[in-house]
């Protein structure tokens, strides 16, 4: 930065050298003369000399834990040199609730509501990862209709999560109208969740062995209406943001981190795909019938904030495509496994079958008994690889439940992305990182 800008503001009158404060702000380093003076005076740079060039002075600034731009209770200990970020230390743990510890004291299906509250924007994904891990331990098959219903709901949840991300990120960058538009679409998804399960958030819809209930009449039509109008909505969002100079300046070429470094840091999901690596577990290791659907994995080129934004927008179109195919291909049949040791018997059997009554009683009082073993099961959540590690000791309570939360791992890449950039871009990059603090702290 040059000192050629006219000093039009007030100057600091008590400054010993009479340097206007505008000029001081714009000088990046000490001038050779100032440096000489400082060296002559001794090892330490005295107060008056540092005051000449405040931007060489490192300032430690605490952002959060209660700051609207941190998307939760995240605390960032930043070291600034002028406006440039030199170091960022994320401090987490403010919403640690000990969910993993609590899971060890609950029977297998009572864990599901707890585990949904980890990543509170992608609750279907948490439940799906956990249920699939337990199903793997049990060695049971999930009926086709349940698999399709799981796909429909997780993809709806991905839209929900991305809408939450887009709305709040645009809000961070000053575009408040995006927030209302995104939350309108998010509400449509929540209406669908309410229709299928009765709850809008933390629905506990996915059950070990299938889903808790079949979808009600009218759900398919409403969901089809939603996914058919959603792509035009995403077009509108893109139109609003892509012609916004303020938005583009804080997106393009900002927060770049190389693909090699991201892989070293264990980053997955849209952040990795933005650098051009098409790693998506739905394609790489299809689970829950994902190989039945025709969809593409969007990737970026440079891995800056704009690519991250673009990849997520493109994922919205792909999610709509998957949901539409799943709704159209939804077969008739059971929505939960008929293994009586795992799923409750249908209500009508209880009146006639003694065996069904016994199973019902054992399941409700004791829960599912799972054979001993340990399983790590990864799925693709909106933020990357969400892995659920479950250890069973053969009893009806899990011995250990651990979630590999993508937000927790991805947060480590923040300092690599923002160091050497402006503090205003730190906010934009953090928004594009899309951390969910409930997932980080668990």
């Amino acid at each position: 930065m040059s000192g050629e800008r006219p000093v039009d503001g007030p100057t600091l009158t008590n400054d010993p050298l009479g340097v206007g404060y505008r000029e001081r702000e714009e000088s990046i380093t000490l001038t050779p003369l100032e440096r000489q003076i400082a060296e002559q005076r001794g090892t330490g740079v005295s107060q008056a000399d540092t005051a000449l060039a405040p931007e060489t002075e490192l300032l430690t600034l605490n952002i959060g834990p209660h700051h609207p731009a941190t998307h939760g209770v995240l605390r960032l200990l930043t070291t600034l040199e002028g406006e440039v970020v030199r170091e960022v230390k994320p401090l987490v743990g403010y919403v640690h609730t000990g969910i993993e510890k609590n899971c060890e004291d609950k029977s297998y299906w009572k864990v599901i509501p707890l585990i949904e509250r980890m990543d509170y924007a992608g609750y279907y994904f948490n439940a799906l990862a956990y249920c699939m891990a337990v199903e793997k331990l049990l060695g049971i098959e999930v009926p086709k209709r349940a698999q399709y219903l799981r796909v429909i709901h997780t993809e709806l949840c991905r839209i929900h999560s991305h809408m939450l991300w887009l709305g709040t990120s645009a809000l961070d960058l000053g575009a408040i109208s995006m927030f209302w538009y995104c939350f309108r679409e998010r509400d449509n998804v929540l209406d669908l969740f309410e229709m299928s399960s009765g709850q809008r958030m933390h629905t506990r819809y996915i059950q070990i062995g299938g889903v808790a209930e079949d979808v009600p009449p009218g759900f398919v039509e409403k969901a089809l209406w939603f996914v058919r109008q959603m792509p035009s909505r995403v077009d509108q969002f893109a139109d609003l943001l892509d012609n916004n100079e303020i938005f583009l300046q804080r997106m393009r070429g900002v927060g770049v981190c190389s693909q090699e470094r991201l892989l070293e840091l264990g980053v997955t999901g849209p952040l990795l795909r933005a650098t051009g690596n098409p790693w998506d577990l739905r394609k790489a290791a299809p689970y829950s019938s994902y190989d039945d659907f025709d969809f593409q994995v969007p990737v970026g080129t440079t891995g800056d904030n704009y690519d991250r934004y673009r990849v997520r927008l493109a994922e919205l179109y792909e999610s709509c495509k998957i949901i539409e195919q799943a709704l159209e291909g939804l077969t008739e049949g059971p929505w939960i496994t008929d293994d009586r040791k795992v799923a409750l018997p249908p209500r009508h059997e209880l009146a006639t079958s003694m065996e069904a009554l016994i199973h019902h009683f054992k399941l409700v009082t004791e829960g599912i008994r799972v054979p001993a073993g340990e399983v790590y099961l990864p799925i693709e959540s909106p933020r990357g690889e969400l892995g659920c590690f479950v250890v069973s000791d053969g009893s009806s309570k899990p011995a250990r439940v651990h979630m590999r939360e993508p937000s927790f791992i991805n947060l480590q890449a923040l300092s690599d992305m923002v160091e050497g950039e402006y503090i205003a871009d730190l906010i934009a990059t953090l928004a594009m990182l899309d951390p969910i603090l409930g997932g980080i702290d668990r």
Partner: protein
Amino acid sequence: MPDAVGLELIAGELRAEFGDDAVVGTSYHREQACVQVDPSKVIRVLGHLRARAEHPYPFLASLHGCDYLPEAPRLGIHYELLNMRTVDRLRVKVRLDVDYPQIESCVELFPSAEFQEREVFDMFGVVFTGHPDLRRILMPEDYEGYPQRRDFPLGGELVIFTHNEPASPGWYR
């Protein structure tokens, strides 16, 4: 996933490379391969698996701890390795005794382990030597005990209200 035969081949390779006592055992359960290695050699084993010429595992998907309470070496640490090209996963497992558990840190090999090793230290009290910044991450800094151990009581924490504050020594200063 390497199949059961592939797992034995990997175990044999590790035995040939690092001595017979490097591999404690293998298990193939529910299509998931797991090789249990000696704690003193885990870093060399991970380094070898990460950079071997044929079929490497360069990505650490997850690192987590576990407490197998009734069993003899109580604590376990799991390294979930991944080869993205072949979509192949391998679990490397280490068992540690609960008294002064200590193991070398793998942050140099896999920088992604930094937060996760801090979490394992926080929850299980495993000390990772060579970790750049081993502090508690989720629990408060002055917290005592390792809450994810199975003998740590659930709900044993006293909730402090104004009236019982003096009656709970150590919880206020």
